[in-house]
């Protein structure tokens, strides 16, 4: 058995991992809506449940495109060079990591956008007070809103990628249309999304100064690089002359994607720790009639 015989298994595993991460973030948002808000605004919470649900459904649909994404990268790219089998394995692994990083970021965005909606940004204390000046507020809200719209649009594009209609495409070309480039198109939208997120970070820097986390800037920068990669190589035929570029950039892109995944996982681990502590405290209060000892 070679690596190729495990690709379907690995792809399924990555898809499950993406679902688990998505479920955890959706749960986090739901718990925040139910128990986390100090001030309940019912209409606003109803809207929040609505747009979060739409985003969760779109992200879930986008996970089905994982196999198509890997196939598109492998499809043209691996017809070149030698030793081929290791190139195939490299392309499969890298493309899986890159796509998983996108899904992880979408899931994380659910939580970040919900928090910001309540004027909470965890790394910066007193975010609400800092965003009182009108101009700063406009800059922060404007970039956040644009990013949220692009985020939904990109998920929509990826969802379309999950349901390819190659036969219909040939018919539309016969009718005079141009060939579609679903992956390059998604990469193009993603460039704008991450550029907007970088602008949002800059607005945050203007608002909170040095308190704005640099690691988040690197996170968005990594997303921007990966978007460029998908835009350039997603639907392009690859020949010998562009082989080195493809291999070089896919390795760099997957290194960035790994960083994005680790960033999201650490974020989730922190949240899980808080949940465990909350449950322990609750059990301590209910079962042992007293507060549980403080956690680490």
């Amino acid at each position: 058995m070679g690596f190729a015989d495990y690709v379907t298994t690995i792809t399924t595993g990555v898809m499950w991992a993406c679902w688990i991460i998505l479920i955890l973030y959706a749960l986090r948002v739901l718990l925040f809506i139910l128990f986390g808000c100090e001030e309940i605004r019912r209409m606003r919470e109803a809207m929040a449940v609505g747009y979060s649900a739409v985003a969760v459904v779109f992200t879930f649909q986008a996970t089905w495109a994982i196999q198509h994404f890997v196939q598109r990268i492998v499809g043209d790219g691996s017809s070149i060079g030698s030793p081929s089998r290791s190139i195939y394995a490299l392309l499969v692994i890298c493309s899986l990591i890159i796509y998983a990083a996108f899904i992880c970021n979408f899931s994380r965005s659910l939580w970040m956008l919900k928090n910001l909606d309540h004027a909470v940004f965890e790394p910066v204390p007193k975010w609400e007070e800092l965003t009182v000046p009108k101009l700063k507020r406009i800059a922060e809200f404007g970039t956040r809103m644009a990013a949220a719209l692009l985020f939904i649009y990109l998920e929509f594009k990826l969802e379309r990628l999950a349901q390819p209609h190659g036969a219909a495409e040939a018919g539309s070309i016969a009718g005079g249309a141009s060939a579609t480039r679903p992956l390059s198109d998604a990469g193009f939208v993603a460039i704008f999304l991450y550029a907007m997120l970088l602008l949002w970070w800059l607005s945050g820097r203007w608002i909170a100064g040095k308190a704005m986390p640099w690691l988040l800037l690197v996170f968005f920068g990594a997303g921007l690089f990966n978007s460029f990669f998908i835009f350039v190589f997603g639907d392009a035929p690859v020949d010998e002359s562009s082989k080195t570029w493809l291999l070089l950039t896919i390795v760099i892109a997957s290194a960035f994607a790994t960083y994005m995944i680790i960033y999201v996982l650490f974020d989730l681990i922190k949240a899980l720790k808080v949940w465990v502590l909350t449950v322990k405290t609750w059990l301590g209060m209910r079962v042992f009639k007293g507060p549980a000892p403080a956690g680490p």
């Binding site: 058995m1 070679g2 690596f3 190729a4 015989d5 495990y6 690709v7 379907t8 298994t9 690995i10 792809t11 399924t12 595993g13 499950w16 991992a17 688990i20 196999q67 198509h68 890997v70 196939q71 492998v74 499809g75 043209d76 691996s78 017809s79 030698s82 030793p83 081929s84 089998r85 195939y88 392309l91 499969v92 390819p164 209609h165 190659g166 036969a167 219909a168 495409e169 040939a170 018919g171 539309s172 070309i173 016969a174 009718g175 141009s178 060939a179 579609t180 639907d235 035929p237 020949d239 681990i269």
Partner: protein
């Protein structure tokens, strides 16, 4: 009693954290991989080049799903753009079975990429040809830049055309400017005047040939066979499933042969072509699952020689292992 201390408390704390993180990851991965490893024996992922009606037609018949189900197969179709992509999907593991022409197979054999040819699936003549200016003289070298799909029958066709006219050096020495493209991009390249001619297969040959000033030239004889392929491990370990797949394909092909006109209309409908768009080209393709070893060997050898001449491979491969079946 003295409190328990550690020489490097900070390091021990971090180590504990990393260990628990690692353990959590290990548990998560085993949780994910265990169910994913359980694979239904009847499940088959098939990489179908769906952009070309002639490769996809039998698989788009309404009866198709029922035929595969009756054979006990759970067929998942992975849509790909070309036979080259289908072959890559099989080698990379994103699909179990694919279809491709002899050109990618010859290159795959030279690189020892690990493939098994199961059968010939279709035979076509004049399905690939030139899109050239109407006023191009017969037997002339096509005007440059020439749109090509690399490592496919498109490149092979051009080589053979030039070779018959003693002009193959133009392609070997790269004196004839070419423009690599995906099949679906070729008609668009004529619109934007990025190419002056192209070698492409149906339906893009017919589509691009409708551009003003151009014509689809099918006069150069060039036989194309498509082969059903898989990985050696799939063939060795899931032989029964693969055989059921071949039997199902044979049944769909037979249905298509016996119901040619309704099948053509169905294909036109599925692709969104206008009525009778395929009337002229439909009879050029013959669908039948056959095992014609010598014919397969001859064609793959011919393509290997082409690939060697074009510098894609360094020596003619011994392709016997491709026919391990």
């Amino acid at each position: 009693m003295r409190p328990k201390t550690h020489v490097f408390p900070a390091f021990a704390g971090r180590l504990r954290k990393w260990c628990s993180f690692g353990l959590a990851l290990l548990c998560l991965s085993s949780l994910l991989v265990t169910p994913a490893c359980h694979r239904d024996q009847g499940k088959v992922i098939f990489a179908l080049p769906v952009a070309d009606w002639w490769t996809a037609a039998p698989f788009l018949l309404p009866q198709n799903a029922e035929i595969f189900k009756q054979k006990g197969l759970d067929l998942t179709t992975l849509e790909v753009k070309s036979g080259l992509e289908s072959k890559n999907a099989v080698i990379a593991g994103t699909a179990d079975i694919g279809v491709c022409a002899a050109t990618p197979l010859a290159i795959a054999a030279a690189k020892k990429e690990g493939l098994v040819v199961l059968n010939t699936y279709l035979r076509a003549s004049s399905i690939v040809g030139f899109v050239r200016p109407k006023d191009m003289a017969p037997n002339a070298v096509p005007p440059a830049p020439v749109g090509l799909v690399l490592s496919t029958i498109s490149e092979s066709f051009l080589y053979h055309y030039l070779k018959q006219r003693g002009q193959e050096k133009l392609l070997i020495d790269k004196q004839l400017p070419t423009r690599p493209a995906r099949p679906a991009d070729i008609p668009g390249l004529f619109k934007s005047q990025a190419v002056k001619s192209a070698v492409i297969w149906e339906p893009f040959l017919s589509i691009a040939g409708e551009e003003t000033g151009y014509v689809a030239d099918r006069s150069v004889p060039f036989e194309v066979n498509l082969y059903i392929i898989t990985r050696p491990t799939v063939w060795n370990e899931r032989k029964e499933t693969v055989q059921k797949f071949l039997a199902a394909v044979e049944e769909t092909c037979r249905y298509l042969r016996e119901n040619s006109d309704p099948s053509r209309r169905n294909t036109e409908q599925r692709f969104g072509f206008k009525a009778d768009f395929l009337a002229a080209t439909w009879p050029l393709v013959h669908y039948e699952v056959v095992w014609d070893l010598q014919h397969m060997k001859d064609e793959i050898n011919r393509e290997a020689e082409t690939a060697k001449a074009l510098g894609q491979i360094s020596e003619i491969p011994k392709s016997d292992y491709l026919f391990a079946k």
